[in-house]
Amino acid sequence: MARKYVLVCRKPHEEWVLGQLTGKRGEPIQMSNQVFHKIEDAEWHVFKQRWKQHTGEDLSD
């Protein structure tokens, strides 16, 4: 589970913040400053991060 992305809802149905798990039970989630107002936007952001991680390429919006 280490570095697994999660979205933490900050305002119901309105606002989500991207975080990553540490992989250890009970350890605080490492929250980013990436805030999203649509879950689809967050999904696309995470996809780009993973694409970059696996291929080294940046995907444009």
């Binding site: 589970m1 697994k4 992305y5 999660v6 979205l7 933490v8 809802c9 900050r10 119901p12 149905h13 989500w16 991207l18 975080g19 798990l21 039970r25 009970g26 350890e27 605080p28 989630i29 879950i39 967050a42 999904e43 995470v46």
Partner: protein
Amino acid sequence: MKTIMGYSDKISACPGETINFMVSCEGEKSYRARLVQIIHGDTSPGGPGYKEKAIKADFERDYPARKQNIYAGSHAIVPPHTLFDQLKSFTVQAYIWPTTPEKGRQTLLSLWNPTSKGGFILGVDENGGLSLTIGDGAGRAESISTGKQLIAREWYLAAASFDADKKEVRLYQQPLVQYARVDTTAQLTQTVKVAPVTRGAAFLFGATPVGEGNGRVIGGDHFNGKIDRPRLTARALSESNIQRMSGENDLVNSTIAAWDFTREISGERIIDASPNRLHGETINLPVRAMKGHNWTGEEMCWRHRPEHYGAIHFHDDDLYDSGWEVDFQFTVPKGLKSGLYAAHVSSGRDEDFMPFVIRPARGTKTADLVFVVPTASYMAYANEHMMTDAPLAEHLTDQVVVMQPTDVYLHEHREYGASCYDSHSDGSGVCYTSRLRPILTMRPKYQSWLGGKGSSLWQMNADTHIIDWLESNGYAYDCITDEDLHYEGYSAIAPYRVFMTSTHHEYWSKEMWDGLDAFKKAGGRLMYMGANAWYWRVAYHRSRPGVLEVRRGEGGIRAWAAEPGEYYHSFTGEYGGLWRRQGLPPQMMAGTGFSAQGFDVCSYYKRTPESRDPRVRFIFDGVEDEIIGNFGLIGGGAAGLELDRADRSLGTPPNALVLASSEAHSPVYMVVLEEIYINAPGMCGGEHPFVRADMVFYETPAGGAVFSTSSISWSGSLSHNNYKNNVSKITANVLERFLKEKPFT
């Protein structure tokens, strides 16, 4: 940050009965409590919005805030005794099966006075080896360790002796299975400078006492793993006598206690088989009916060979009764409408709801419809941690897991206990779940990652879609809970004409199953408003309230698997696992049973030619559409999350009509495991015919009938278009006909 939360001692009450509420509130001077009726817990802007009714209650006022702690971790305790006080030389021993020797310091057996710090502790040290700590109660302590790390999930005979005359300690770490090139055997003799002073000490199994709280001894350094045949002797035994004491009933002179965990397995007492009768009790329900060091596989049921089930499995995160002090009470007044209620508490920027059901007065009903609130299923899912502990969450939903602030809090505060979908910190499955703790996932407004796209509701909050529909359409109904059905059986539902299930009524005890079966046989009508019901068999504790057991046996969609030989419930001795594996598939109860699941988006039903049968004309009265439920708050459709299908071979009655079937499910949907004999590609939505929900109707011989939606998301579509839609219409048609006395056959 969650700052206020609580729980109640009862989950349902009749007029005249009293419910106690326990609240913890930190960082504030006071909190406000009031009574609300829960109508619609869904806060989604795409639906009717959050609805509650404020009800005047005598407990409504401000209360002083205080933080109440939860002490998780199980152990067993024998109270202080003069025989303990008088110990000079001793031998303490047990078979042990450590599951996390790498975790750090853990206590196996202790006779320790936390005030004087006198006594001894047989444990696992920071390096994972067997150790003995001796304290003289005057500030001096000494520890001896074998220095050899134990291997996880291997049985050992662990023993320590102290010879008071020689001031000599001996440690024995003897694995029962030997491996080449790996030797964890250790035997150590060492003189020490201190002697144990055990005065006032209680004997603990799986922990060391660190103080008192919530009316009981609080344990520390909790052990993860099994303990079998613990013994205490008032002299330093030779190795041969230690071996002799580890037998079944061969006790040596000077035996202080020989605890036998094969006795009273279903209860909380632990029995000392020696003449001294130093009995004790377990705290926080460590798991019993566990295979002991001598289990052979000859017998799979602990009732048949209890001598093979002499182990108790302790966990550092077990939790039964939080033991909080009562903050306020509520005596249900006469005339208060039956329904789902909550004590709402709020302080500063935080709030919490403590849900409960108000029943009609005993022996009466106020409606012909009873909505049965599935508290067993709520408990099975209570405070689940799959989104942070299990990689499958992202796969099941096909999206980055969405967590609520509540989930974050539960992730960081494991002391609130786990669900039966979680594993303990040592990886073993959680088979007991209690409601005597704040269950933060059983709340209105709570969204769940399991609830699909959209409103994302699951279990209790999803069930408020049904309550809202009943309220909005003016249908009279009573509410009872699974516990009421379990403890009262058929008599709890006999007065009613229609039994309505929840969206996901998954966990059933035998008593519940028999009660509903009797209801159907007596001509009662069953409206199955969800999917994946009558799936797991559960057992309620026979003397302790608010706790049930699930053994995830061979088969089914399981978050963990019980160890071979541990499929029988400890609470009752009943065989656990799927009802289907016990010859009672859900199709025998409702005509349909669990077939596939996926947690991304939901789909729709398409009517079949059987929906034109005159027998079901009443169901489609006013419904011209071929497509049913292509809308909704849960995943955008009435067919989704979990799906049931009709199957004659599994017990769907031959007179059942399949009125509509769902289609076009995403590839995230997969056929349930119990249908897969040889795993192969082609098991997804769009590929396998079992990925569907079958809407079913059939009549019963006594004039009753069954209607099954077979989809968890069905109820999320009820409120669409201001409750004017084909899902709502079909539900209303069925309910109104089912409420009529006229027999179906």
